[in-house]
Symmetry: C2
Subunit: 180 residues, 2 copies
């Protein structure tokens, strides 16, 4: 995994892929599957929707750190499996044969098998709406990963795989941040 400029990290989340979010509660690491995410700022600020119903939420609230990992489509069954069991009684890294890698800044682990990882600090929790605001503090991309297509959850148990890419850079030149 190579470091990615933080100014590019929002481009990992903006397309709306299902992501894995890791936490570390001081003793154990956990992973949750999250489809409800949003970019809040070009400068690596993100929102995710989560709350008490996720076992990871306690660690997120207490340690104020997590990692957003972007799984490619060949990890879909693991992504669904992670989203349908609980860290309360499952070591998800072991059960889904995923490799935890130490990040540079936060204690929540990166997931080696993912396309990209973003170390994040919790900036704010908007309890009223179950929104957790995160700021990316380090980002990584695995350029060697051959499968680069991500998946988008529909919410009814189906998933849409990335298709072809269309380029509108010229039309959008005035709106693309210079840092890209």
């Amino acid at each position: 995994m190579r470091r990615l400029k933080l100014s590019k990290a929002f481009t990992l989340v903006e397309p709306g892929p299902v992501v894995l979010v890791t936490t570390h509660d001081g003793r154990k690491s956990n992973i949750m599957t999250i489809s409800w995410t949003m970019v809040l700022d070009f400068n690596a600020v993100f929102a995710i929707t989560t709350g008490e119903w996720n076992h990871s939420f306690a660690a997120l609230r207490e340690k104020r750190e997590c990692v957003i990992a972007i799984p490619p489509v060949d990890m879909l069954d693991k992504v669904v499996g992670i989203g349908t069991c609980s860290g309360a009684d499952t070591d998800k890294f072991a059960r889904f044969k995923l490799t935890a890698v130490r990040g540079k800044i936060v204690k929540a682990p990166l997931i080696k098998e993912c396309l990209a990882n973003i170390e994040c600090k919790v900036v704010d929790i908007v309890t009223k709406h179950n929104i957790v605001v995160l700021e990316g503090v380090a980002a990584y991309v695995d350029h060697a990963r051959k499968e680069k297509r991500t998946v988008h959850a529909v919410g009814d148990g189906t998933f849409i795989v990335d298709g072809r890419k269309l380029d509108r850079k010229r039309m959008m030149a005035s709106r693309i941040p210079e840092s890209l």
Copy 2:
């Protein structure tokens, strides 16, 4: 356009497509292109990131209504065009040859050419994070629209088109709302 059960409306937004958001300020309608969206609840509650930098924001804040319209890929050039000009000096419905259709509840118009439309009320504005919380009050899908693929903005001027769909309904049975 046929009515869609509100309990299914979140499935239009969850995959993370670029959307068009219409507003009506009492005199004129406007449209903005938004890629920063998130589902907040199965019960048709959504978040979008917007603020003073969007001309539509004043109407959204004042009238507390909008429509989220989901454009298919054959509208991409209009979507990009809408996102790169301002309602301050442009009638976007006229310029992009889009048809405004009166909804049942809100005064912001539906966009006839889109795959789906969700009439929304503003529930809250989290000013600190530029998050607008919306509740869907009526939803529609155009089943006759042949092009059903949506597009996902990467943020760098490129867009990912929907590819194939994968079914994991059986694996996810325990987590799919019964209302679907």
